[in-house]
């Protein structure tokens, strides 16, 4: 299981590429492993605004639907339609090709962790 060091992570298992400016948001490899096959993703529209911790979409596996929580407050600049069209691609690459939305961060996030802290956060679950 991989966790890129330059990303930040929330305890809901979303990742964030940057705490200011434009940032990509996705879900961690750990979350994908827990879900199993991802079969459907619902994402917001460009222009929608969210505050840190709000639900911005849903991710569905064969058996469960999970909410996606935004790791930083921001406005949606872009949505990855390729991953919506081919949700199973998330399994192969949840970090580069598998980004979900791009946001303009409006406020520095309070609850994200660096990679090392995130790995120790999920360690006891591994």
């Amino acid at each position: 299981m991989e966790f890129p060091e330059h990303y930040l992570y929330s305890n809901d298992h979303e990742w964030l590429s940057s705490v200011s400016g434009e940032a990509l948001v996705g879900v961690s490899h750990y979350a994908i492993e827990q879900l199993g096959d991802v079969v459907h993703i619902d994402l917001p529209r460009v222009g929608e605004e969210f505050t840190e911790g709000q639900v911005f979409g849903t991710i569905e596996s064969t058996k469960t639907v999970s909410d996606l929580y935004i790791p930083a407050s921001g406005r949606v600049l872009a949505v990855n339609s390729a991953v919506v069209a081919k949700p199973e691609s998330l399994q192969e690459d949840p970090y580069e090709e598998g980004w979900l939305i791009k946001i303009a961060v409006t406020e520095r996030p309070e609850k994200v962790m660096n990679c090392r802290d995130y790995v120790s956060f999920i360690q006891d679950k591994l």
Partner: protein, 371 residues
């Protein structure tokens, strides 16, 4: 209730299964990918740990008479070595559980019931048995492990644990038949039944043989392509094949006629619990019925989501999922009968959005159990 471990718990962990708690048991949801496991069973074979299922034995001279009264199907049509699908109903015709009943010998039967209902089924059965002195009911659920070996290559995989002098009768076993089978001097029962829509077997065996049998069968993989399958794919496989899941598609307020198992409900075969209510329902016509549907828009239907036609609520989804063999998504729904038919457009309310779907013939996937 403490969550139980089957005799194969160690095998599941070693295979890196994602374990979940189901009906009081730790069981594998999937080992890697539900979709890949689903495909493996359709194309090659899979092995399932279904030790959570319940095994209730019936014996004594009034056993047949009792089972005729207790269950909806016609037990007098069974003969030793044959099984059939059936159900327990209450007086109102509601389904207490659905099950498979096998006749093992002249006065000995095995009933396989759902894990979540074992204790309530047993209590119900024991209560009804008071009217049939001489019947012995034995809930042996905790004494048996159970493996399901399912898929086009299931027979070859299964033969890896069958003694050479018993391979011929195993090869001749036909759909719904059951046979006793001595393996390593222990009595097992092998049935040609399943819950996937593929040719397959269900093997009842003592716990001591479970790990060995599992590993031997999995070891046939280079030849048979068999792999371990979790509950996730068990559910998508059964849904495509149109098999009901108790607790989702039917419960004590659903009748077998509504659930579409009228074919197993032998109203003419004599008295059984719930028959009066079902005869009445049949004469008046059912108000609700299980339909199959497929989505025509993106979105995955789930249990309890509302089904609409225009503004009218027709009922709810009882089971929904992606349909790996057919593509897309779909499921079963319990809907107001009478004014709707296969081919009609419906909409499923998926988290505040209406998504178009269409009623289709059941089953979604034509079973190949007799291949």
């Amino acid at each position: 209730m403490e969550t139980g471990k089957t005799a194969l718990y160690g095998q599941h962990l070693a295979a890196k299964a994602k374990m979940i708690s189901f009906a009081g048991w730790h069981l594998p949801a999937f080992y890697g990918s539900v979709l890949e496991e689903h495909r493996a069973v359709r194309e090659r074979a899979g092995i399932f740990d279904v030790s959570h299922m319940g095994e209730i034995f019936f014996s004594g001279s009034p056993a047949q008479e009792f089972l005729q009264y207790l269950t909806i199907n016609d037990v007098s049509r069974l003969s030793p070595g044959q099984g059939h699908y059936s159900a327990l109903c209450n007086q109102e015709g509601g389904v207490i559980d659905d099950l498979i009943l096998y006749q093992l010998e002249a006065e000995r039967y095995l009933m396989c019931v759902n894990a979540s209902n074992i204790s309530s089924d047993y209590a119900w059965i024991v209560k009804q048995a008071q009217r049939f002195p001489g019947v012995v009911v034995d809930n042996a659920s905790h004494q048996w492990s159970q493996l399901a070996i399912q898929g086009p290559t299931s027979l070859s995989a299964l033969l890896s644990i069958v003694p050479s002098d018993r391979q011929a009768p195993v090869q001749d076993l036909e759909y719904t038949q059951i046979m006793p089978l001595m393996i390593k001097d222990r009595l097992c029962y092998l049935a040609r039944t399943g819950y996937t829509g593929e040719k397959g077997y269900e093997l009842y065996l003592p716990h001591e043989l479970a790990s060995w049998a599992w590993e031997e069968i999995v070891a046939s993989s280079p030849l048979t392509g068999i792999r371990p399958i979790g509950l996730g794919a068990r559910d998508t496989l059964r849904l495509e094949a149109g098999y009901l899941l108790y607790g989702n598609d039917l419960n004590e307020s659903t009748s077998p006629l509504e659930a579409g198992i009228g074919w197993a409900t032998k109203l003419a075969a004599g008295a059984f619990i719930g028959r009066e209510a079902l005869l009445r329902q049949k004469a008046e016509g059912v108000e609700r019925r299980i339909f199959c549907f497929r989505m025509e828009e993106q979105g995955i239907p789930r249990h309890d989501m509302e089904v609409y036609r225009g503004d009218e609520v027709l009922g709810t989804v009882t089971s929904g999922s992606v349909l790996p063999t057919l593509g897309g998504a779909g499921g079963m729904a319990l809907l107001k009968a009478g004014t709707i038919a296969v081919g009609d457009s419906i909409a499923i309310k998926i988290r505040h959005e209406m998504k178009q779907a269409r009623l289709v013939a059941r089953p979604l996937y034509m079973a190949r159990v007799k291949d």
